[in-house]
């Protein structure tokens, strides 16, 4: 089996010089896939994703993108390498218009990004209607769309979402998941962290259950949903 497109391999590390939070944790996503990280509170889900994105010290293990070792790169450099990241909170420029948010997403691109802008608007039609409005004035679900749209503007080779549905209503959550599947269909691999484990695993090609910074279970989304141990411990039976 060839190596996945993006892999955080046996990562051990923590924030700054602080204690290790991850202990030999492995996360990966391959082309055309949606990979989901789930687990109880404090399991290190977001931390694992941030480790892949270079926001904490990975003391052991490695992160590789398309076979290239990027463990030592800064988050900014990883963006240039083609990784798109949507933070959990404060993921938009609230005082700027929707269109300006998307333009800022394309800041590092020297080429013409109008095509990408149109693609994002096609993907999130509501943003086209509100493109002159300040992003901070939008509803929670719409803001998340701005946030994802901003990350898509770099034409990333892989998209990472940190709890995209945190704090939105169930209806909005379903819509967001639909949008995420659509993004995935355009050929972008997606790695995301989710609180709503059941719904997330339903759309996942690959799932990781983390406990205390280490892999507890992994498999396809369906397998995990069917696994009695996973059901019992994390999905409430």
């Amino acid at each position: 089996m060839s190596e996945p497109f993006l892999i955080g391999d046996c990562m051990t590390g923590g924030y700054g010089a602080g204690p290790d939070i991850l202990h030999g944790c492995t996360i990966s996503v391959d082309r055309g896939e949606i990979a989901v990280i789930v687990g109880p509170n404090g399991a290190g889900k977001s931390t694992a994703m941030k480790a892949v994105f270079g926001m904490l010290n990975v003391r052991e293990g490695a992160v590789r993108l398309d076979g290239q070792d990027i463990t030592k790169l800064s988050p900014q450099d990883r963006v240039i390498k083609g990784m798109g990241f949507v933070p959990q909170t404060q993921n938009i420029f609230a005082s700027m218009t929707v269109e300006e948010n998307l333009e800022m997403g394309a800041f590092i691109r020297p080429d013409d990004f109008r095509d990408t802008l149109e693609q994002v608007y096609d993907l999130f039609p509501i943003l086209r209607d509100k493109r002159k409005q300040a992003a901070g004035e939008l509803s929670g679900g719409q803001r998340q769309q701005v946030a994802v749209g901003r990350a898509l503007m770099t034409k990333p080779k892989v998209l990472m979402l940190d709890e995209p549905t945190a704090g939105v209503s169930p209806i909005v959550m379903d819509e967001l998941f639909d949008r995420i599947i659509e993004v995935s269909r355009t050929g972008i691999p997606i790695l995301m962290v989710e609180q709503n484990a059941r719904q997330a695993l339903e759309i996942a090609d690959k799932g990781y259950v983390l406990v205390q910074g280490a892999n507890a279970f992994s498999g396809t989304g369906k397998d995990l949903l069917a696994d009695p141990d996973v059901r019992k411990s994390f999905l409430g039976g």
């Binding site: 900014q76 990241f85 933070p87 404060q90 993921n91 700027m96 300006e100 333009e103 800022m104 997403g105």
Partner: protein, 336 residues
């Protein structure tokens, strides 16, 4: 007739000076608010940056004057302004390099940066006094009045004259041009938008590949230009004296806070709020009221609410009211 005289007197003593002063404060407050938005601290050295830029302009003006160069009816200082801006730009970039950058990289608390800026303030102040001395300096030339009081009286036949100094007209026109340019830059250009993005959400701006050092550099250069222009206009309108720029710090901060720290529109609104309050409260209304009211009600005293010695108290009271009731200012800046 009396009513017209009242309006003319009001324009002459209140409206025109307040608009000119308001423009100067607005330009100063824009500089403070930009630094606050991007570098996230209150820059106490701003008044002295103004003094430095104005001093360089004054020096250049003198040189041009000695070479016989002038702009006819306009003050020569306008010609010297680009030089002053360059000098101030050099100064602020040097200070950023040698002083502020270290604390930025350390991610020091804003209050440390404020103290550091106080140190920079005294050094800049020392340099300015060292070079040009602490006295008042004249550098205005050209036509003194756009309309003099006597001409106005002859033209209209009113008892009251309306004088508009050339410097006042230039102040307002320059301020309008500069503000239009600044807003165009912030809202329409890629670099300007990246500055707003950085001010709005630093982490996300970094994720978007915006280079913070470049944003900071552009900000300093804009601030240097704003400070030099504000300082020179103030000097032309009144006179150039290093210490007055330190005293301008309070009204400038009051303007920026009234408008909402970090909000450019707020800085302009705040500048005019402070200027109009200061001028109306320290103006002796006897003349205007004398015309506006029937003779029997005409006031005996000067009807001056507060002596001009206390003009700083006006800025201060406005500041206190804003802090008590709406710390985010009129345009929702950052209060915490």
């Amino acid at each position: 007739m009396d009513f017209l005289n009242a309006i003319v007197a009001l324009s002459n003593f209140v409206l025109v000076p307040a608009i000119a002063y308001g423009s100067q404060l607005a330009l100063g407050a824009l500089g403070v608010t930009l630094i606050y938005g991007i570098l996230r601290f209150s820059n106490f050295a701003h008044g002295d940056t103004m003094a430095f830029g104005a001093m360089a302009t004054v020096g250049m003006t003198w040189w041009l004057q000695s070479m016989g160069v002038n702009l006819g009816p306009l003050p020569t200082a306008l010609l010297a302004l680009p030089f002053g801006i360059m000098a101030a730009g050099f100064l602020v970039l040097m200070t950023d390099r040698m002083v502020y950058r270290f604390y930025r990289q350390q991610k020091s608390k804003p209050v440390i940066l404020v103290i550091v800026s106080m140190g920079v303030m005294f050094i800049t102040n020392g340099i300015v006094r060292f070079i040009i001395g602490p006295q008042e300096r004249q550098f205005a030339d050209g036509e003194r009045f756009l309309i003099s009081a006597r001409d106005f009286k002859q033209m209209t036949g009113l008892d009251e004259g309306l004088a508009i100094k050339t410097t006042q007209a230039i102040t307002v026109i320059t301020a309008i041009i500069i503000v239009a340019l600044l807003f165009w830059f912030l809202n329409k250009t890629r670099t300007g938008k990246s500055m707003r993005a950085y001010s709005d959400n630093e982490d996300l701006a970094l994720l978007s590949g915006i280079n913070p050092e470049r944003v900071v550099m552009v900000t300093w250069l804009i601030v240097a230009a704003l400070a030099t222009i504000a300082g020179t206009l103030y000097g032309l309108d009144k006179t150039f004296k290093p210490f007055t720029y330190f005293q301008l710090l309070l009204p400038i901060f009051a303007s920026a806070i009234v408008g909402g720290l970090g909000s450019p529109v707020g800085a302009i609104a705040g500048g005019f709020v402070v200027a109009f309050s200061e001028v109306t409260i320290t103006y002796a209304w006897k003349k205007v009221l004398g015309y506006a009211m029937p003779d029997s009600l005409a006031p005996d005293g000067l009807v001056q609410l507060l002596s001009t010695d206390y003009k700083f108290a006006v800025s201060f009271v406005i500041l206190v009211i804003v802090l008590l009731f709406k710390p985010t200012g009129l345009f929702n800046g950052k209060a915490y």
